[in-house]
């Protein structure tokens, strides 16, 4: 087991190096650079820059240097000082921009993830053990609807319901008057009042998909001979179901749990935009539109790191839970 963990960790290092370089190259791929986007923006506002000014700006930002050099400078600073560079657009350090929003994003996504799993797994299991029962049909329908409805639409509907039926102030994470207020019970209640919509939205689509997968996995497993063996040992239905097939049916999940990590970080961009949430998703979108390269690069780097680390985590968890993986 220890050997598996070590080798997987060692493999993660070259992967991360390659990934970081590729992320840096990718953000340079679109034609033009931040200066182009900036000049265009100014022009829209009626301001013009001379070619020399533009050129100066480029040199200032280091955009004229060879790409490998730019990359080396960027990554060394990150590794040595945790300095992700400046956002051109916000004229602020990338790290502070990202970390500001990261806490909230992680919190929101973690809560909805816990909700999703906590709801989806028992429902999926129950629905599989009672295949073709009324509950099973209801669950299946929920699965289709939940998966079919686009998240932004669900967000809009819930906002509308909250606003016009429940008289709630929706959108954002709290009412504006609390924005700068210190934490208090009133503020916490206000946040709760706002936060249920994103959680419901995120959990619904997640749970819908998860229930379907869990149900299908369970149906597969329930038909296998080892389940009958477990019954033949005298275990009750609940003991059999939760100790044997669920253990096996969860493995495909465990192997993808790591992917939840980058998803947690990026949050759901569209939902976040619609709900006007100060999470990381909308910021990334903005950075990409503006070709704010260090901001976008920092984002993509963190995302990819989360992906690599997440996959690593999954692998380790899977090896821990499934002896067939661990012992080859």
């Amino acid at each position: 087991m220890l050997r598996i963990i070590l080798t997987r960790c060692l493999w993660a290092i070259p992967t991360l190096i390659v990934v970081s370089f590729i992320s840096f190259v990718i953000i340079q791929l679109p034609p033009g650079d931040y200066v182009t986007a900036y000049v265009a923006e100014l022009r829209r506002g009626g301001e013009y820059l001379t070619d020399t000014q533009v050129e100066l700006m480029r040199q200032d930002f280091g955009l004229r240097d060879p790409i490998l050099w730019q990359y080396a400078r960027w990554i060394t600073k990150i590794l040595l000082h945790g300095d992700f560079g400046q956002s051109f657009h916000y004229n602020a350090p990338v790290s502070s921009l990202i970390w500001d929003r990261l806490g909230l994003t992680l919190l929101l996504s973690t809560i909805s993830l816990v909700f999703t799993w906590g709801i989806a797994i028992p429902i999926g299991v129950y629905s599989a053990t009672r295949q073709y029962s009324v509950v099973d049909y209801v669950v299946t329908i929920f699965g289709f609807v939940g998966k079919g409805i686009p998240e932004f639409l669900l967000a809009l509907i819930l906002m509308w319901v909250g606003f016009s039926w429940l008289n709630m102030d929706v959108g954002g994470l709290m009412s504006p008057e609390f924005d700068t207020a210190p934490w208090s019970i009133a503020k916490a209640l206000n946040v709760l009042e706002h936060v249920w919509i994103p959680i419901v939205v995120l959990a619904t689509s997640g749970a819908a998909g998860l229930i379907r997968v869990m149900r299908a996995n369970m149906l597969d497993e329930l038909g296998k001979p080892y389940v009958e063996t477990a019954y033949a040992q005298g275990f009750s239905e609940r003991q059999v179901v939760w100790n044997y097939p669920v253990r096996v049916a969860l493995n495909p999940f465990i192997s993808t749990v790591g992917w939840a990590l980058p998803a947690l970080f990026s949050g759901d961009v569209i939902t976040a935009v619609v709900l006007n949430l100060p999470t990381t998703g909308p910021l990334l979108l903005q950075a990409l539109k503006m070709q704010d390269m260090y901001l976008a690069g920092g984002f993509i780097l963190i995302l990819s790191t989360f992906t690599v680390v997440g996959t690593l985590l999954s692998d380790i968890l899977l090896a821990w839970s499934d002896p067939r993986v661990r012992l080859g």
């Binding site: 001979p225 080892y226 040992q233 002896p323 012992l327």
Partner: protein
């Protein structure tokens, strides 16, 4: 389920009897209509005795034992009487629901079961030791380490090498024969009075099959348990059984001692099966192919004698109309055929 008169109960259940099936019938409701998988099966097993159940695929051998275990699929309904007397007084198992307390206390405890698929019949995510220890803990309680010791003892009993090490092995690390040994250890976890072995060697190669049969025979002698041994293969029956029940399309067409069945078979189907046995010890058996015609499909079970579509001795107007009576050519042997029944 028809009520069984009390007096009948007593007279039909001598003290040496362990398991007794009367008129067991199992029907599955399917989208294509009812499947009458078992129709009126009666057989019994005495304490310490090995009953071989032989028959072609689909004859209802597995369904019958699943009815005994009360582990039938949810679309099944069954009638008839199943009685089991592991410790003195007979218990009536028929009518017990799948999840009943009584059944849970018997399964894995007084009745052990071994299945055909050694590859998939053990949980892939638990070690052999854990699987056995769990069963011991469930029925006998005690400490985890005592259960583990018991598991090691059982693994030694089934002659797995290095039982202490085997405890922590997982099924995928074992060969088919070793898995089947582990499966047997699991079934014997609580010293059952009855072991149900549903084609335990069909999936194994001939050499391994012989070793497993050897092991089962030895265990049976040492532990004195009774076995219901299901197989396709008459050679295996001769090897291990004391008595035999031959099944065809959900019915027992003949029962008798091994000697009677082999030397004086009464039913045309038994004779046909015997005619198709490969020599013992010869190359891997082929399925029983030499009987003419196909097994009818379970939705259209023939009227009268179910075997009449394939029987060489069929009497038109009789065999395809009325169900044959049970005839007993000698004590302990019963044949369901118009011919032996003396019909002209």
């Amino acid at each position: 389920m028809p009520p069984i008169p009390m007096a009948n109960d007593m007279t039909n259940f001598p003290p040496e009897r362990l398991l007794d099936l009367r008129d067991l019938a199992v029907t599955f409701a399917t989208a294509e209509g009812p499947v009458r998988a078992v129709q009126g099966v009666s057989y019994h097993v005495n304490r310490g005795e090995v009953l071989g159940v032989v028959g072609e695929s689909g004859s209802g051998k597995s369904v019958t034992v699943r009815a005994i275990m009360r582990l039938l699929a949810r679309n099944a309904t069954d009638t008839g009487t199943i009685r089991f007397a592991p410790d003195g007084e007979p218990l009536t198992l028929s009518g017990q629901p799948r999840d009943s307390k009584l059944m849970r206390s018997l399964r894995g405890n007084r009745i052990g079961m071994i299945f055909q698929e050694p590859m998939t019949a053990l949980s892939p995510v638990h070690s052999i030791g854990t699987q056995i220890a769990r069963t011991v803990l469930l029925h006998r309680g005690g400490s985890k380490s005592a259960a583990r010791d018991r598991a090691a003892e059982l693994l030694a009993r089934v002659q797995l090498p290095n039982p202490g090490e085997m405890l922590d092995r997982y099924p995928h690390q074992l060969s088919g024969g070793m898995r089947q040994r582990a499966m047997i250890a699991l079934a014997l976890a609580c010293d059952p009075a009855l072991l149900i072995a549903d084609e335990p060697t069909t999936a194994l190669d001939v050499t391994t099959e012989a070793q497993i049969l050897d092991l089962l025979r030895g265990l049976q002698k040492d532990l004195g348990m009774a076995i219901v041994f299901i197989t396709h293969n008459f050679g295996v029956v001769a090897d291990i059984a004391d008595r035999v029940a031959v099944m065809y399309l959900g019915q027992v067409v003949e029962t008798g001692s091994v000697d009677d069945i082999f030397y004086a078979p009464g039913h045309p189907y038994t004779k046909a099966l015997l005619g198709s046995i490969p020599r013992l010890g010869a190359a891997k058996r082929h399925r029983l192919q030499t009987i003419q015609g196909m097994v009818p499909d379970p939705y259209h079970i023939p009227k009268g004698c179910p075997f009449h579509t394939r029987c060489d001795h069929v009497r038109p107007g009789l065999c395809d109309v009325t169900a044959p009576p049970v005839f007993s050519p000698r004590p302990g042997q019963e044949v369901r055929c118009h011919l032996t029944g003396g019909a002209a």
